[in-house]
């Protein structure tokens, strides 16, 4: 018996994909059983199959008269614009910081001050300065991504071996070429790490920003669905059977200009 168990464990150890599939299936089964025990008309806890069905409806029929893809595109655009701007400025500032100890020392106190502030904490300030339009969200994403990219790039540039720069100089490399053909590629692993962290953070921040003030986007969708208590009720399916006061309110609100919301 013990030997048989050891055999099974040994077999599973070399099949990570099988183990992952089995564990996921198990989780889905537990979830389904649990949901079926507690299911009521307005349950906030639905099973996986029901969720999949709602997702399908959301994808095919949209949410609140707008296609799901419009919401996704709105969130992607904000993240993309803010992240790209943050990445470009971050890489430039990071390279300057890594290359010059004076620039690094000059910016160090400011960066140390703002680093521990969660980007979400800027939301009120950014809304106050730039309004609730598209631009304020892009600024927020920019702020969130810029710092990580800049600090990682600076660390990467600082880690470039001195020998490498010296060799490049003796090969007649101009200052400009030294930057883009030697220092940047050598620091690239650090830069990529910064970009990766910044991108993940940007996505988290865009949803948070849309929770607070937006007319479209995934964050808005979550907030709206939560506000009107439509957690499982995402399609038009239920409202076809039963009048839904929330839905009317919501549509009326939608017709008015955003400022009155």
């Amino acid at each position: 018996m013990r030997a048989r168990l050891k055999q099974i464990i040994a077999a599973l150890e070399i099949r990570p994909a099988l183990v992952g599939t089995l564990s996921t299936l198990l989780l889905l089964i537990i979830w389904s059983i649990w949901a079926s025990k507690t299911e009521t008309m307005h349950s906030s806890f639905v099973g996986p199959l029901e969720l999949l069905r709602r997702l399908y409806l959301l994808a095919t029929q949209g949410y609140g008269g707008t296609s799901l893809w419009v919401h996704i595109a709105a969130s992607l655009f904000r993240t993309g614009a803010g992240f790209i701007a943050g990445a470009i400025v971050g890489i430039c500032v990071g390279m300057a910081m890594g290359y010059s100890s004076i620039i690094s020392s000059a910016l160090a106190p400011l960066f140390s001050f703002i680093r521990p502030i969660p980007p979400i904490a800027y939301i009120p300030l950014v809304i106050l300065w730039f309004g609730i339009g598209e631009f304020s969200k892009i600024v927020l994403i920019f702020l969130a991504s810029f710092l990580y990219v800049a600090l990682n790039t600076a660390a990467g540039v600082r880690a470039v071996p001195q020998d490498l720069i010296r060799v490049a100089r003796t090969l007649g490399t101009s200052n400009f070429r030294l930057f883009y053909a030697v220092i940047l590629p050598e620091a690239l692993p650090y830069v990529m790490l910064g970009l990766k962290v910044a991108l993940a953070l940007s996505w988290a921040v865009v949803v948070a920003a849309e929770l607070v003030a937006a007319q479209a986007g995934l964050g808005y969708l979550i907030m709206d669905a939560g506000t009107f208590f439509r957690i499982p009720d995402l399609g038009s399916e239920l409202s076809a059977h039963r009048p839904d006061p929330c839905r009317h309110n919501e549509q009326e609100l939608r017709r008015q200009p955003p400022a009155s919301c």
């Binding site: 071996p161 100089r169 007649g172 690239l188």
Partner: protein
């Protein structure tokens, strides 16, 4: 024991014309200011390296060899004295002096061929010709078949061969080599020494070589400068009378080689433990 010092002294008296002098160090001194005060790295160094010479700086670690190479390379500025390359004062690094470091310093995101091509950039060669010329330099170090490999795929010896090919491709007048073979195992080191001396004989570049390895210095150089530490200064200038060509391992076991080694070791010995404590342990 052969008298190196007398022989080199006769060489030094014949004042060569400035054109013959590749590297001229005149009363060069350097120090570093640290939190614990000033450290004198070099003091009153006078060296003249003639064009085409294989000049080796031999000394223990911490004697300022690398500082001296950095000064010649133009990476740091000497705080005292005059440094000139072919009669012109050094004002920074330039393509007339190629460097080869112990750390290889290859561009790891470029293939072997592209690494060598990097050096051709400043020579304003047409793009089409670059690959061909780079390949010729790779041929010189026997790595033509590895041109599409990346540095991480190569052994230490091969990496240093690429670094040598790259330095030569920039067509420098002087090669500065800072313990280039110190990271290699002893067998690979000897093979590369033989390759280097062959390359030197073919290209006739002036070589300024740094090592702490006595055998290496004797096998390679035409002239050896033994340095003493704290502060770094030239202790003796010796000319090496081993017969040329030397690209043969058998040179290492000849009586002349051993005699030279003995002479140099005698010079270094009293340097390494000048005030050794001979007392009871606490």
């Amino acid at each position: 024991m052969p008298d190196f010092t007398r022989k080199s002294a006769t060489l030094e008296t014949a004042a060569p014309s400035p054109d013959d002098i590749a590297v001229s160090l005149d009363r060069v001194g350097h120090w570093f200011d640290g939190p614990s005060g000033r450290t004198q790295a070099l003091s009153d160094v006078n060296i003249q390296i003639k064009t085409g010479e294989f000049f080796t700086l031999l000394g223990p670690s911490g004697c300022g060899k690398t500082t001296l190479l950095n000064i010649v390379g133009g990476f740091i500025e000497a705080k005292a004295g005059d440094v000139a390359i072919f009669g012109k004062p050094v004002s920074g690094p330039g393509p007339d002096r190629g460097v080869i470091f112990q750390s290889y310093a290859l561009f790891r995101w470029l293939s072997v061929l592209k690494n060598v091509e990097f050096a051709l950039h400043h020579r304003k060669l047409p793009k089409a010709e670059r690959a061909e010329v780079a390949l010729q330099y790779l041929n010189l170090v026997g790595l033509q078949d590895f041109r599409h490999h990346y540095p991480y795929q190569l052994s230490g010896g091969m990496k240093q061969r690429v670094a040598i090919a790259r330095a030569l491709a920039a067509d420098p007048k002087i090669l500065l080599m800072d313990e280039p073979f110190a990271a290699l195992d002893s067998q690979m080191r000897e093979v590369l020494q033989e390759e280097l001396i062959e390359i030197w004989q073919r290209t006739r570049k002036t070589v300024f070589f740094i090592t702490h390895n006595v055998d290496e210095a004797i096998f390679l150089s035409t002239r050896i400068c033994v340095m003493s530490a704290n502060p770094g200064r030239t202790k003796a200038l010796l000319s090496n009378d081993l017969p040329q060509p030397r690209a043969d391992y058998r040179v290492r076991t000849t009586a002349a080689f051993q005699e030279n080694k003995e002479g140099i070791l005698a010079l270094i010995r009293d340097e390494l433990h000048p005030n050794r404590m001979r007392g009871a342990l606490p």
